[in-house]
Symmetry: C2
Amino acid sequence: MERDVYLRNVELNKAFSLWIDACIQAGVSFPLESEEVKVSDSLSRVTADEIFAKMSSPPFVSSAMDGIAVKSDMTKGASESNPIRLKVGRDAVFVDTGDPIPAGFDAVVMIEDLSRVGEDILEIIKPVYPWENIRPVGEDIVQTELVLPAFHVIRPPDIGALLNAGYATVRVVRKPVVSIIPTGTELVDDPADADDEKVVESNSRVLSSMVSSWGGSPIRFDLIPDDERVIESSFIKALENSDMVIINGGTSAGSEDFTAEIISRYGSIIVHGVGMRPGKPVVLGVCGRVPVVGLPGFPLANFRAAEQFVIPVVRNFLGLGSPSARKVEAFLARKVFSSIGFEEFVQVKIGKVGQRIIALPLKRGSGVLMSLVRSDGVLRIPAGIEGYEKGRKVTVDIYEPDFDIDGNILTVGSHDVSIDILASFLSRKNPRLRLASVNVGSIAGLLAVKNREGHIAGVHLIDPETGKYNLSYVRRYLHGEKYAVFRFASRTQGLIVKKGNPKNIKSIEDLTRSDLLFVNRQKGSGTRILFDLLIGSRGIDPSLVSGYESEVPTHTMVAAAVARGSADAGLGILAAARSLGCDFVPISEEKFDLVTLKDFAEGESFSAIIEVLKDPEFRKRVESLGGYDLSEAGELVLTE
Amino acid sequence: MERDVYLRNVELNKAFSLWIDACIQAGVSFPLESEEVKVSDSLSRVTADEIFAKMSSPPFVSSAMDGIAVKSDMTKGASESNPIRLKVGRDAVFVDTGDPIPAGFDAVVMIEDLSRVGEDILEIIKPVYPWENIRPVGEDIVQTELVLPAFHVIRPPDIGALLNAGYATVRVVRKPVVSIIPTGTELVDDPADADDEKVVESNSRVLSSMVSSWGGSPIRFDLIPDDERVIESSFIKALENSDMVIINGGTSAGSEDFTAEIISRYGSIIVHGVGMRPGKPVVLGVCGRVPVVGLPGFPLANFRAAEQFVIPVVRNFLGLGSPSARKVEAFLARKVFSSIGFEEFVQVKIGKVGQRIIALPLKRGSGVLMSLVRSDGVLRIPAGIEGYEKGRKVTVDIYEPDFDIDGNILTVGSHDVSIDILASFLSRKNPRLRLASVNVGSIAGLLAVKNREGHIAGVHLIDPETGKYNLSYVRRYLHGEKYAVFRFASRTQGLIVKKGNPKNIKSIEDLTRSDLLFVNRQKGSGTRILFDLLIGSRGIDPSLVSGYESEVPTHTMVAAAVARGSADAGLGILAAARSLGCDFVPISEEKFDLVTLKDFAEGESFSAIIEVLKDPEFRKRVESLGGYDLSEAGELVLTE
């Protein structure tokens, strides 16, 4: 085809150093020049130089106590049997804490150790040593001493130290101005303008907030269409007043070409395509003395590429090293694949199951920003490796350095809308507890609990032989373990159909009609097992159900597919149908249970969960979704 | 005496919960009400409620690739030997990544897999499955799904998720307004106005920046004198428009009484005096629906009390828990005492020496803000404990969660100005390496190296028998160890005297003159050993040297005492004299050496130090201080 789809995939670290070297060669100034700011406005700014004290603190010999300044010689030998009297004004001077010590005096007697015996006469019964209760000059800071090193991020106490060291203003590194140009014909600024062809531009907003949280000064340009001349004119404007320029591309490969074309017109491209995933279609260049980056349009790719290229340069401009993440060693709960030649970034949830820290990989598509929002950290798989086996010990970079692993509860297994509500109630009850649900289907959930890769499995599995739910599966998959099964809810499964049921779908049998398109759930999910049982017991061959191969991983995605018209029907729960304005044809009642090992069931976190399950407020809230009966929620169904 | 010096020392946690309970009783609203802000301005704000998606992302079935949308049925059986032709417009429609899939099409063929064989005719040689290369509706976010929980601090990717979920604005918790009233007759705003009686007001600046970094909105009132009526009028104004009011007291006990008096006039005092050190003189009250805090005036006490009382309330107002620090287990390098009945906060430096993490306690006086600036974390000693033994394993709360322990180099031993300069050069060379110097004197430094409580000892110890420096001490104190001694500098010790030497001091013998006041160094310091040797060899009895008992821990503090007139002379180095504008009477040349165990000497960090010691820039800089000769700097003097 005519389009150039070739990208050079330079290894990530090499791409960065090639680019930075080219920037330095071109005269980009790392760090930037300094500017003077008021100390009281200097929080989080970066010192441009070593700062030595201009003044001592305390600047004079001062009293460390409220009391009287005395000449220590005169107090020698004082005792209860030999009290010594001092005349105020001559032998003693009242001082408050912090007051300068008058000349000629060399110690302070605390106010508690005095008694007044006449108008101006005080009595003491203990001697004081020379310099007792006196703060020497510079006890805190001595003039000329180093207060703060160069390239230090100013924290609250530093502000106090600077003022006490005699500084009203301080030289800091100027904040780098980062211009961000959002492009994309398919994009709109306001979510209200999104429709069936337009989506919201969010990358520039994420990037702006990244730049400002790392100490830069972002300028977000107006959103413009994928039009080379329009982009070029914004770019020229940006180049004039910026320390760095970012072109946020659209999602199509064509958009990337515009960016590359424009950059090479005003400077040079150093790297086009980086061996990382997501984030591959990065363009790194330098125009004049301005580093320029073309970022890919998919949200997760945009974020990861910005994190690897934009933020480190913001930090270089400030004279700081690249941000370093807190690292945690964890056992991988699932095998992850990785492409040779690409450093892969895999979002993970972290949890402590028993004594082990577990890393649970989340979705990786470059479009799935929520996998970033929901994750606790990222696993980086080097370019030369094809992936990691399940159970391998890996190092995870944690996003929030004060992240509390013990507070994370990993719920794996089947997806249910009400688990989000359970999570909310739990966190409001105890902010430390965060219930994360990772949707892998009921059977994988049971296996995860058995293998200590998750705390709780949410399951709804019908036994084809007995028509009963869950217990036979639990007995089989958790054989040999000490476990407990608690009822969560009874809920109604049925066919989710368009509002008004325009195609008049009434039963499972209707799904073989040639005018209907079905949307299925993934293998191993309870709903898929139910569906296969429903068609199997009716003797329906899957190939007769058009759309049987199209799988989505959640109830709500089934409902969304139906609501948006990309399918006519799917099997799912009433709550999902209702929340997306679909109609619903009830098919069967099922039991949704929570399965956990006994150790965890007996702990504090699980007690808090049981409390929520029994909370009438919680039950009312879930039942209001429709199709739920929580009257047995929190009851122990089976234990072994 | 007339003044009320009685404080009730309520245990810290109890004080906090008594106060919070009283606040809740009084109707203080935790969390505050919500307000609507633009999503693009919502970074670091706190969600006021669960946020469920209003819109799916992608909102429609869309292409995951650049290519053509096709009907998968038509591609069945395509192969190299059986290419299938498709007519653009009828069988195939060009789509870019992210474009909606036109109705009737159910898969995408990637552009790389196409060849054009005629004007509108494309050929493919591989089939596609139904839904291949297609992003389902809601692949990222499904309408109605939970995007962010309640009371969640919004991070950059969350901003993207909110926009994609259909939100242009978001409900966040209003920022609490915290009014801060700085009081103190002894204080001035501008460091330029500080003199022999006035010191700079810094507490309100530190506190303001603490409040804003934890999400509050500080209002700093004008600095006012310790005058009850003036304070009262600021306080009334503050009460009207604030969610919390802080009175930052002066340093004297009298000031605290004003605060308590005023608070009880407009509301009630819940706690007066907390069992913590520093920070004891805290007043906690509630006036109407406004929590009120009186904070002590000493900088470190002010900080610790604010950290324990003000910040947790700011967080409560936001619906967040108290900040949790990263904890590190470390071995205590020195015994620390603690008073029964007080929870003690001890600033520590942290370093990894060999395989052990060491915590080195720093100064604790409530006035020494620099010990906070220089420390890496804090050790909290519970109220019921008299202290911890040296070598005990303790838990340290680290301030910076991404603090890199391995980059810390602990230099213990004698103080020398040039070590600060070495630290600066080293960090500029490698920002990871931070050389911290803890001044304990030469001999304690040697012991610390022997006991693996520090990496490097700076020593200058004269052998009274030979008049030679350091090596005999190293052999004795490090006997049995593998060590290395490197030359740092030769430097000149002498008498630091006032500018112009007004008292005409010419020799050690002059120090016995009755018109002279001496300032001494602490026992165990090299300079003290030198001084005792100097007077001993001259047969001078210490009691004849007036001021012999007055000890300060550094050369610069000696010079500062002389410069400020609180002493006439002290023994110290030329650089210290010169930096504080004093005159200098040279007495002797000495060798300042760096001593370390061989393991550390052979590591990367120490190589970087040696490189700096040999750097002509560095030598020039240190020699410019005066009295230094660095021509042998970095040379190995002794190894064992």
